[in-house]
Structure formats: C-alpha cells, structure tokens
Symmetry: C2
Subunit: 466 residues, 2 copies
C-alpha cells in the first residue's frame, strides 16, 4: 500500500486532499509570497490520527509541514517546491477541551482560532491576552509553534509565557503531553518551552493548556503626540513605573505612517488637532471600575508638564479606542498604496530603540535617497517593524530588487545593538539563511543537536528554521 | 599531568581544594541529609575558567557537580559517594555585570546571592521579585538551575519566568550565551528555558540577564482566619479578580502549624484574638502610594460579609508585616521541636488544593494514627508543603522509618489529581527514582535524548534528575 493510501486509512479518504487545486489552497500563503507543492494535504481529526500520520511519514522519510490558519509571515507553514512533502493541517483539531475559571486554565486543541480562544475565556469572565491582527483565522497551534507576540507582550509576555503545557506528537508518532493546570512543576526539563517556538521542527503541537487572567473591569486608551522616539521611551518608563502592569500596550508610530493611513484607509481621522512627528498609543486596564482614568490623567498631566508628550487624546468610548487602534493596525496595509515596501521585524534592547530608529533611518535613506522609513510597532517590547516605503516616482521593482541589501544594512545595525532579526514572526524559510549567519554558532550547534535527537530522520518541517 | 594538576593550572593552585576537610565543607549540605565525597572542589573565577574546567573533565570523563550556595533541598548539589567527582563551586563568579533600569534588566554572575540581586535592583529603584527563605546565601546560578519558586510566583512566576537569557558552559567546555536584554526574540529554540531547571545536567549556568520590575510604592499585608481550605480558595479567587497583579503572595497555614510556631519560636504571637482552623497570609502591592489600602479593606469587608473569612489583621507597619511573615516562614523550623517530620513539596491544580489537603490528611492519619499533618505553603500556586509531624509519644525513628510509605500515599493522591511530586525544590537525587516512576515515559525519553545530545559522555551532574 502506498503512503497516500495508508494516510487515507488513518484519517479517512476524504481527509487526504491530493488534487492539485485542493493542494494549492494550502500550499500557498495568502499574500502569495511563499508557495510550494505538496504530495497531499492531510487533515487528521485528533491527536491519535496525528500520531498515525507522523509514524507513517517518519517510516517513509516523508517531510511533514504542519499548518494551522496559514497566516504565518515567514513561510514556516508552506511546503518546499519538491512536491514530496505533505501538509499536515491541524484545522480539524478544533475542540475546546476544558475552560476552568477556578484554576484559571483552558485546554484547547491546535486548530482553535485565537478569536475563539479569547471568547472561551470571556465566556467564564476571564481574559486571554494574546491578541494579533490575524486573530480571526490564526490558530492556537500556530501561535504556539511560532511563539506569537502581538500587542500585549509588554504586560503578559509572548505565547510561550501564556502556556502551562502542551500536547505534541514527536517525529516518530509518540505523543508527548505536558498538558497541565499546574502553576509550578519542577520535575525535569522544560519541554513545553522547547516545543513552543520551534516552528514545527521538534514536534507537532496538537493541544495546549493556556493561562487565564482576571478580566479587567475598566480600560482606557490614549493617543499621544510626540517630538521624537526618545520621548516615547521616557514616557513608557514613566507609565510603567507609575502604573506597572496596568500598562497593557505601548505602541509607537511615525507621522508618515499616520499620513499613509489617513490618505488610504477610508474612515480614518487624526485624533489630534495638530501634527506631531511621532505618536504613541497606550492602553491601560484596571481590575476596578474606577480609578484608572484618574491615574492615567494624572500621569499625562505630569508627563506633559515634563515636556515628554504634546497633546493627548483619551478615547471616550470603546468605539473611539477601536478607531485609535485601527490607525495603528492599518499601518502595514496603508503602505501598500505607497508602492513597494521592504520590511523588518526586529527587536533591540528597549533603551536602544531611539538610537536604532535614528541610525537605521539615516542608513537606509543614505543608501536609497528618497526612501521613506516607516518604523512602527511594539515599542514597549523594543520590537520595531522597520518598514521602508519606496521613494516617490521610483519603479517598484527597482526598489524591491534592493531588498537584500537594505536588510543587510538594517540587520547590521540590529546586530551592533545586540538585537534580534526576528522579534515575533519567527524564522521559517524567510530568515533561515540569515539565522545561520547571525546566530551564535554554539547556539546553532545546540539547536541542531536537539533537533537530531528528537527528529533523527529530519521529517518535521524540513528546511525551516535550521 | 594528572587532572588535579591540570585543573590547578586552569584556575590557580589555591582554587583547587583537595584536602578532606576542605572538601567536606562542600560535599555535605547544611542539614546533613545529603553528603558525598569528591576528588576536589574547583573554584573558577570566570566563565573562561569554567570552560577550561569542563573541557578537562569531559576529556577525562570526570563527573562535575555544580554548586552555588549549597542550599538546595534535594541533594542536587552534592557529589555521590565515589569520591571521583569534582565539585564545581561557582561562588567566585560573583560580579554584577550590569544593572540597567532603562531596559529593566540586570546581568549577574552565577555566584551572586539572591539578596545581593535584590539589592542591585533596589539600587536603581527597581524590584526583583524572587524571594526565598535562603536568599541570604542561595545564588542566582542555583536559583536558575533549579527554577526556584518562592513566595511571589503567584504574581511574577518562577525563576525561569524572570530570566531574559543565560550564559552557560556546555559539557565539553563550549560557552553558550543567550544573555540579552531583549523582550522578544524568535530566532530559534528556547535554550534559555531548557537550561533553567535542568539542575546542572545540561550545562553550567555562569551568568544570567534577569528582568527588573517597577518598584511598588505601597505594600499591605493581611493575616486572615478561615474555617477551611475551600474558603481560602474562594478568597484567593476573589482577591485575584478584584486586585489582579496587586495580589503578590497568598499563603495558607493550618492552626496546628501556627500552634507549633507560637509554642517554639521565641517572640511569635497570634495576630488574631480568636483561634481559627486555618489562616491565609496575603501580600498586596501597588505602584501608587495611596489607594491600595482602601481597595484591600473593601475586598475584606465583602469577603467577610460573604462568610469567606473570619477576622483579619492588617499589618500597620513594615515590622508587623514581617512578624506575620515570620509566622509563615518559621513553620518548618517549628516542626523540628515536635519530633520527626515527613515532608512533601507537591503541587496540584489550584482548584484541587482543598480536596488534596483533605484527602491526604485523612489517608496519612489513617495509615499512622495520631500523625499530625501540617499542610502549608503557596496556595496561590497550588503548591502545598505537605509536612507530617509524628504522633505525640511515638519514637522518632519509628515514624521516620515509614517515610517512603507515607510518600507513596501522598504522591498517589497527587498523581490522581494531575499534580507534581516536585513543585519547586526540584528532583536532585531525592526524587530521581520517584521521577522514573511517575513521569510520563515519552517525556522521560525526550529528556534523555536531549541530555545525550548535549552531554554525550554524561559528565554533568551525573545521577541527578535523570
């Protein structure tokens, strides 16, 4: 019996998609930046079937590319061009196994979308803080495989910090479960953290127990005008020391990015009457209904008096807060209307963000005169999406042809500052070769040794990350 | 040249202690429960020397037992009886390399004591929340090797959650550094978390970058009388949902434990005028000078009205708060005066703590009539130190002879509830054989595979954990 027939007997015939059109829908990510070919798309219904599929593929030496909502940005979920790999879709593992407000834990299968996970938490009056632009379609399995970040890392950490345990299938089909509601367990190596962020190269995550948090009773969102990123840094420090974990998000945007949004995204409007070179967007939350607004207003009065910020707009309704956030979240989208854009998902020590933005902007515009840097993002984590829009009037293809050179310049500055070339999107195929150059050799060696020990035949997501 | 001579040339003659008396001071832990013999104690001064020492030991196949403040409770830092292992003391690596309030990060060498780490944070108006009874002598290296817990896990997590990166020497002497001030870095496997909690079996941690937090401006400490653990659980839920991260610690104590402390620890006194079967000790902290006391008092009024707690004493001074905490922290010490004590460091899902305490207490007293369970500890994490004092009038040795049987009973109940047999103290030698029986086989296999991949000759802390 050939592999496809065996896979069909494991998961049911209709869950092995082998037609070219059927495969195509999974073998390309939505933006079309990464595409491959595949032998088949296999859609198991539960962990036992995932185990059977992996055992069969390991036996035959067939590469397996795990896939959740197919929203990854670095090609980690896309097969290579050989047509010999299978795509393992986890979308049918979509059960919410348990939501437990007493233990503040919920156990979800890999294919549950992030939005459903958030709703499951809300249904028991709890809060699940992971939040990303793609939350309607990305899945918990993918979030964990890539250690997703998002806008609340400053207060709650990345996906890894939110997990209590995982269930994963190893390369040869063995099921490894660290699922647990325990807050403390010192019985051995942290296999949970190792699997999270390994981009499907060490195991296929099939379920996870995630932490729940008390649901904030009041939120307040502030949009501030600033003269420069250094002021944003000082402002962030002030907010953090005065409000601690009540500061839930702290984002930075340049005027040019806001201009792009105002110009191209219907319905957007500038929250402030005057223009500023930079903007910060800060979210605050409190466990009490009252008090937070007074605390934030007092902090704003002091920071404004200290010259840190210009004017500030406080959202007076949830709708207005959503409007503020839409400005921030439309920043990538708006850039599309301005021609080609060369992107970087980098982090530096937060104290170095102003220096990084300044130096990288100068270097890029010196290299391509007229290039328009649009550095924005999660300043509270030191994570800047350093996107560069093409010069006005330049041919898009001429600009994009310089992608690698611009990357080289920006990543060089990141390296000098002890930063990371992938803050939150992961490595996938996009940064695999780059990683070989920038990662410390001993760390790479340790990663390869671990990979070989858990997946000796190299069937799990071959060619990704390492 | 023999190994000792080579080690001496690496670290200097006076830093290789080979006399029996010199060795004895390191080869036994302070309580005398674990002791071994060693070829020598080697005391390198820096990571380069640690690297040389490990390379030499790996070459000669000599077992290396890393040691910090020698305060571990499970024998992880003690050599075996062969006299062929060396003790690698990290105490001379005691530099505070960097304290950076802008990035909220500090880089410390392994031999820095926890108390010094806390002081380093305070010196820049920041807070480092790791706090243990042994903080005056335990070291950051040991805290990380064992993923130390302590009283603030409920709000800040264990040692692993506080680390941004580590510097470690691998078995063959290669130096692996993930030291970093970055809050986000998705460039590969989480080697930091893997090394933390590996009890010196995967690498010797020589330094770490730890997170700093805003320093709370106000603290309040409450001592509450309760009728039963289920009330403590409800009270904890109420505090958490009303005060969120302002709840910094939540401990449970039984009346018998308080009785022991009042009877045996000079200067201790009952904070409440009446007796209660159980007590909770809760710490709250706020980033603002005012407000927290009102919030806590309002919560107490409501929880008392709801019948969750009896009387509550609020510490009116730092000295009084310290008195409350001394009652909690003297609980182990006070038990010594009551004869033999059989101990368990276990955790269960927090919602199951009342059931665990009830069932384990019944089972143990049914097995040894008159045995006196003293379950206390970090209820906010589901981590109960289930200590059992001997029956009055029983021979201590007769009681202690039943250690393994009592363990078996208690750990059986822990297993049934999905708990952990080592919540925060680690495995070491004390629970190594137990681990083999209770840990999922696939997890053990994965741990052994990783161990073999990073330490193929098995020279790092042999016989510990695995």
């Amino acid at each position: 019996m050939d592999l496809l027939a065996r896979l069909a007997s494991a998961v049911g015939e209709k869950n092995v998609l082998a037609g070219p059109d059927e495969i195509a829908a999974y073998a390309q990510e939505p933006r079309g930046l990464f595409q491959g070919r595949a032998l088949a798309v296999v859609k198991p219904a539960n962990v036992a079937q995932v185990s059977q599929v992996l055992a069969l593929c390991n036996e035959s030496g067939t590469g397996v590319v795990p896939q959740g909502g197919n929203t990854g940005l670095v090609g980690g979920q896309t097969p290579d061009a050989s047509g010999l790999q299978i795509i393992l879709s986890l979308l049918r593992l979509d059960r919410i196994r348990d939501v437990d407000p007493l233990c503040d834990a919920m156990t979800l299968e890999a294919g549950v979308t992030l939005a459903r996970a958030q709703e499951a938490a809300e249904s028991v009056d709890r809060y699940f803080p992971l939040s990303l632009a793609s939350e309607g379609s990305c899945t918990i399995g993918g979030n964990l495989a890539t250690n997703a970040g998002g806008v609340h890392v400053v207060s709650y950490g990345s996906a890894r910090a939110l997990a209590l345990g995982v269930e994963a299938v190893l390369a040869d089909g063995r099921i490894l479960s660290t699922l647990s509601k325990l807050r403390k367990d010192n019985t051995g190596y942290d296999l949970t953290s190792l699997l999270i962020g390994s981009e499907g190269t060490l195991g296929v995550i099939t379920a996870a127990t995630m932490k729940l948090f008390p649901r904030p009773r009041a939120r307040i969102c502030v949009f501030l005008g600033l003269s420069e990123p250094a002021r944003a840094l000082a402002l962030f420090g002030e907010f953090k020391s005065r409000l601690g974990p009540e500061l839930q998000a702290f984002e930075l945007m340049p005027r040019i990015g806001l201009d792009f949004v105002l110009r191209h995204i219907p319905g957007s409007r500038d929250p402030l009457p005057e223009q500023y070179p930079w903007y910060a967007l800060a979210d605050f939350a409190s466990m009490q209904d009252d008090g937070i607004e007074d605390r934030v207003i007092a902090a704003l009065a002091d920071t404004e008096a200290a010259g840190l910020s210009g004017a500030a707009a406080i959202a007076s309704s949830l709708a207005q807060a959503e409007d503020f956030w839409r400005l921030r979240e439309s920043m990538s989208e708006a850039q599309k209307f301005e021609g080609g854009s060369i992107k970087h998902d980098v982090s530096v020590p937060i104290g170095d963000t102003p220096a990084f933005i300044d130096e990288a902007s100068r270097a890029v515009t010196a290299f391509i005169p007229g290039a328009r840097p649009v550095p924005f993002g999660h300043m509270g984590d030191g994570n800047i999406h350093f996107n560069v829009s093409q010069p006005l009037g330049m041919e898009k293809s001429d600009f994009l042809a310089r992608w690698d050179e611009v990357n080289e310049i920006v990543h060089g500055i990141v390296a000098k500052l002890g930063g990371s070339v992938s803050a939150e999107h992961g490595v996938g195929v996009l940064k695999r070769d780059l990683l070989r150059r920038v990662k410390a050799p001993v760390a790479l060696e340790a990663m390869r040794a671990i990979k070989a020990s858990l997946d000796p035949k190299g069937v799990l997501n071959p060619g990704k990350l390492l």
